[in-house]
């Protein structure tokens, strides 16, 4: 049984003797990335020339395929195979788990005649070249019996039900508290469907070596990908060797694999040669998960002094039919502000849309867009600085469950952010500041995101030349995993950073949960620390037990490690001398971390504050983000550069959520309107002004043995709301229907008579 108190003992990450922990060391895999030599899945060079697979998407959103004419495609030059549901090789029925402990079940591609969403892969072409495969894919002729797609979220709100296994959470009596409150805000906000738009479209390359399936794909979690593929194509799990060494962005959208992997594997098996398949950018929009739209009703009731008496957040959202994914936009507020009467919950509608899924800061990203703007509105009604309103509602303990906070520096984030940003220069009345053609305004918001530790393993090997090799079935989606694992290893074994090799993204390495939910560094890193500690012990025991070592017969716990040298007082030798002599094949240990069973006694969160300055052109309705500052408290920081990059990345993501990103549904066809990067507006350089993120000193000893927490989602939480609040401060228009596009702002400006 693990307790958080087991983590009280000191360890090399805490003592940080060489100062590597927290240092902004350059990315471990950076030289490969800047030279274009890091092979992403589609770029791995297989043992023989690959064939090229291209998927064909359904042209309807609901219904069934009534006919498939593949003759012309099959006769097209270079074509090796053309499949639909009628002739695709046999796969295990959906959900099959031949191995009871598989972390994912079978997910057959081209499963049957039913079409569940627009763009669903319904045919697959393999040819000798990409050009031949693309050309033949246009010749596949499918006929459909289409149903009217049931995709109109707003029209279906009345039918929304509780997500399975969930109930509304009420503390006190919300209705009474709200009714009695002196000052009220009651508003409804809407957030749109958003797409991840990772720069690397999902891709897979598969070949077989005898019975062994060698699969390279782009996925955030290794084990479910390996298990799911094995279950789908019906081979033992150990016969799938799945690798995902470099991943061109994930953001939640690569938390699962897609049909590219299954079809590449089926193709490789059928043809006896490597097959690679990539989504096109257009296919990514429908073919991979998206962040679902939400409708959020927020009600805040406060006393005249700004004390919240009642707060409620109710979220309506959607997922695909047969799915249960819920955008938990209301959850974050349970730990954020004090209020005796509280009501939160979610309602879910199932639609004929592609599967909804996790996207950067799932829950918080959508939810802060309403609550943190409602707080701004409440502050205005009260005549209070919005910063002060938040400080007045700072809870002493978690307001939902009464647990103490493991560490909470929200107020410090707010105060330091305000000072650094120059918040005191903000004029509370909107529309007062002009800079040329721009109306200029400032806004702020709080940030919060939960913190988790999951079970993980990791192995450490010391090789005869003294190299420390870290091996873990973990992934690096751009977050810095390679780098922080190398830092932990170097600090733990007291070797130079250049003496560490990191091998991740491989199903044959000790399992780790992968990248997601900002649990990656804490989880993978803690397992690495454990492995490093065990390797220290193993090395000390090897040296003191070896008659050939100067340390022989010493006490293992007196062995010190420094600069690749082990010593007991003045007796020493290099690590490489010891290993070469006493363990010529190298010395390997495995470490493991598990969540502490008493960790639930604390409310463990990460916090931050956002401050934003925008310019609004009152003639065109254009909004420019001029400055963004975030101040964050997220435990010990392992790498100041990679952590800051994640935070600024999240902040910019939030700005785009407020201003540009949306994918409306064409309710006639059940498709998304925006199907590429010219239509779906992710931010570009010119959209973004000055951005900075500052991390407060913090150690959260209840979080994990290293006292670190995650930052990947935190930067996004609240960032969009701060932009929206700044827009209001600039021009006096509140847009509750995101994104805040010029047409909506102009309507508001015209209504004001501007």
């Amino acid at each position: 049984m693990t307790s958080v108190h087991d983590w009280d003992v000191t360890n090399p990450v805490k003592t940080n003797r060489t100062g590597l922990i927290g240092k902004a060391v350059e990315r471990y895999e950076g030289p490969l990335k800047v030279t274009g030599t890091a092979p992403y899945a589609y770029e791995v060079q297989p043992p023989s020339p690959p064939a090229y697979g291209v998927m064909v998407g359904a042209a309807i959103a609901a219904g069934r395929i009534t006919g498939a004419d593949i003759a012309a495609a099959e006769a097209s030059p270079g074509v090796l195979a053309v499949w639909t549901h009628l002739n695709v090789p046999k796969q295990a029925p959906r959900g099959t788990k031949a191995h009871p402990r598989s972390s994912a079940g079978s997910r057959p591609a081209l499963e049957d005649e039913r079409v569940a969403y627009f763009g669903q892969p319904v045919a697959f072409v393999i040819a000798d070249t990409l050009e031949n495969a693309v050309a033949a894919s246009h010749l596949v002729k499918l006929t459909y019996d289409a149903d009217a797609p049931d995709v109109d979220f707003l029209a279906r709100l009345d039918e929304a039900g509780q997500p399975p296994g969930e109930q509304d959470v009420e503390i006190g009596d919300f209705a009474a508290g709200f009714a009695a409150a002196a000052v009220q805000v009651d508003g409804t906000w809407t957030t749109p469907i958003q797409n991840h738009c990772q720069m690397e479209p999902c891709a897979s390359l598969v070949w077989f070596e005898g019975d062994k399936c060698i699969a390279h794909t782009s996925v955030q979690m290794v084990k479910p990908a390996q298990h799911g593929l094995a279950e789908t194509i019906g081979i033992p799990r150990d016969n799938v060797h799945l690798m995902t060494r470099y991943i061109g962005g994930g953001f939640g959208g690569k938390g699962q694999t897609y049909d590219d992997l299954t079809l590449a594997a089926l193709g490789a098996k059928a043809l006896g040669r490597p097959v690679k398949v990539a989504f096109t950018r257009q296919q990514m929009m429908h073919g991979t998960v998206h962040r679902p739209a939400t409708v959020q009703r927020v009600r805040l009731g406060a006393s005249r002094d700004g004390t919240l008496d009642a707060m409620s957040m109710m979220t309506w959202t959607h997922c695909h039919k047969g799915g249960n994914f819920t955008e938990h936009a209301s959850n974050f507020c349970r730990a954020l502000y004090a209020a005796p009467n509280r009501l939160t919950g979610h309602r879910l509608v199932r639609l004929d849309l592609p599967a909804a899924g996790a996207m950067r800061a799932p829950g918080e990203a959508s939810g802060t867009m309403s609550l943190e703007c409602a707080m701004d509105e409440l502050a205005e009604k009260l005549g209070l600085d919005p910063l002060e309103l938040r400080i007045r509602n700072e809870p002493a303990v978690d307001p939902e469950n009464g647990r103490p906070f493991s560490m909470r520096q929200l107020v410090r984030c707010l105060k330091e952010g305000a000072q650094l940003f120059g918040w005191d220069r903000r004029l509370p009345t909107p529309g007062q500041v002009r800079d040329g053609r721009w109306l200029v305004g400032m806004g702020m918001a709080a940030a919060i995101r939960g913190n988790f530790l999951l079970p993980a393993k990791c192995s450490f090997t010391v090789e005869p030349d003294g190299t420390i090799v870290v091996r873990q079935g973990m992934t690096d989606i751009g977050t810095g995993t390679y780098t922080v694992l190398a830092q932990i290893a170097a600090e733990t074994l007291a070797v130079p950073l250049g003496q560490v090799r990191v091998e991740i993204g491989d199903s044959e390495l000790p399992p780790a949960p992968g990248s997601g939910g900002q649990f990656g560094a804490a989880t993978a890193g803690s397992a690495a620390l454990m492995a490093g500690m065990k390797l220290r012990t193993a090395i000390a025991e090897l040296a003191t037990g070896d008659p050939g070592s100067p340390l022989h017969a010493g006490a293992p716990d007196e062995v010190t490690f420094q600069d690749g040298v082990i010593a007991i007082s003045n007796r020493s030798e290099t690590l490489s001398d010891l290993i070469r002599r006493a363990a010529p094949d190298g010395l390997t240990v495995e470490g493991e971390v598990r969540p502490a069973q008493d960790a639930q006694q604390w409310s463990t969160q990460t916090y931050g504050s956002h401050f934003v300055e925008v310019g609004v052109d009152p003639v065109t309705g254009e909004v420019r983000v001029r400055r963004m500052l975030g101040v964050f408290a997220a435990g010990r920081i392992l790498n100041a550069a990679t952590a800051r990059s994640q935070l600024t990345g999240g902040m910019i993501w939030g700005a785009a959520s407020a201003l540009t990103e949306a994918n409306p549904v064409d309710v006639r066809y059940g498709s998304f309107l925006n199907q590429d990067l010219a239509q779906y507006l992710v931010p570009v350089q010119a959209d973004i002004g000055e951005v900075d993120a500052i991390m407060l000193d913090e150690v959260d000893d209840k979080a994990n043995p290293m006292g670190i927490k995650g930052v990947g989602e935190l930067g996004n939480s609240g960032a969009g709301a701060a932009v929206a609040n700044a827009v209001y401060n600039a021009c006096g228009v509140r847009v509750r229907d995101y994104p805040i596009t010029p047409d909506k702002l102009l309507a508001g400006l015209i209504a004001q008579g501007r």
Partner: protein, 167 residues
């Protein structure tokens, strides 16, 4: 169709499908996978390479139309052992996360710096003026290269660092 293109200083003669893009020629025929396919429609810039010194979206141009041209892809800019100052600056400023857009950002930077030096104006340039090396100019000129991890501030810092280094 027989096509000869000088790639990273080496003449390469290939028999190409006329439908093959310059990007696919590099990636699939020459196994130079540094140029990335992010959209295949000229919308993201991940495929940016230099053709006769000018930056170009290699996904939007057919390889056979470049017979006799000189192409420099990221592999020709620098190597792990000998990084170009722009590559070094991207590393030092942490100007990337997932790394997928990075080769395109770096090639685009090289083309952009040449355009600035030649006085090519952008929307940010005052009419008739020579463009300045300011943040606004760089942001405008680098807006054809999308970074979804949004390392944008770090990319600006890297470009400024590299320009100082190269001056």
């Amino acid at each position: 169709m027989r096509t000869t293109i000088t790639v990273n200083g080496e003449a390469r003669s290939l028999d190409l499908d006329t439908r093959t893009t310059l990007l696919d020629m590099l990636r699939e025929h020459l196994k130079l996978t540094g140029a990335k396919k992010g959209c295949d429609h000229g919308q993201c810039g991940a495929c940016t390479v230099l053709v006769n010194g000018a930056r170009i979206n290699s996904c939007l141009t057919l390889a056979v139309s470049h017979d006799g041209d000189e192409v420099v892809s990221i592999e020709g800019v620098g190597t792990v052992g000998r990084l170009h100052p722009v590559q070094q600056a991207f590393l030092a400023e942490d100007a990337f996360q997932c790394g997928y857009c990075t080769p395109g950002q770096i090639c685009s930077t090289l083309g952009m710096l040449r355009e600035l030096e030649a006085g090519v104006p952008s929307q940010e340039t005052a009419p008739g003026a020579k463009p300045d090396f300011t943040g606004a100019e760089i942001r405008e000129r680098m807006s054809g290269n999308i970074c979804r991890c949004t390392a944008y501030p770090q990319i600006i810092a890297a470009i400024q660092r590299a320009a100082e280094e190269m001056a």
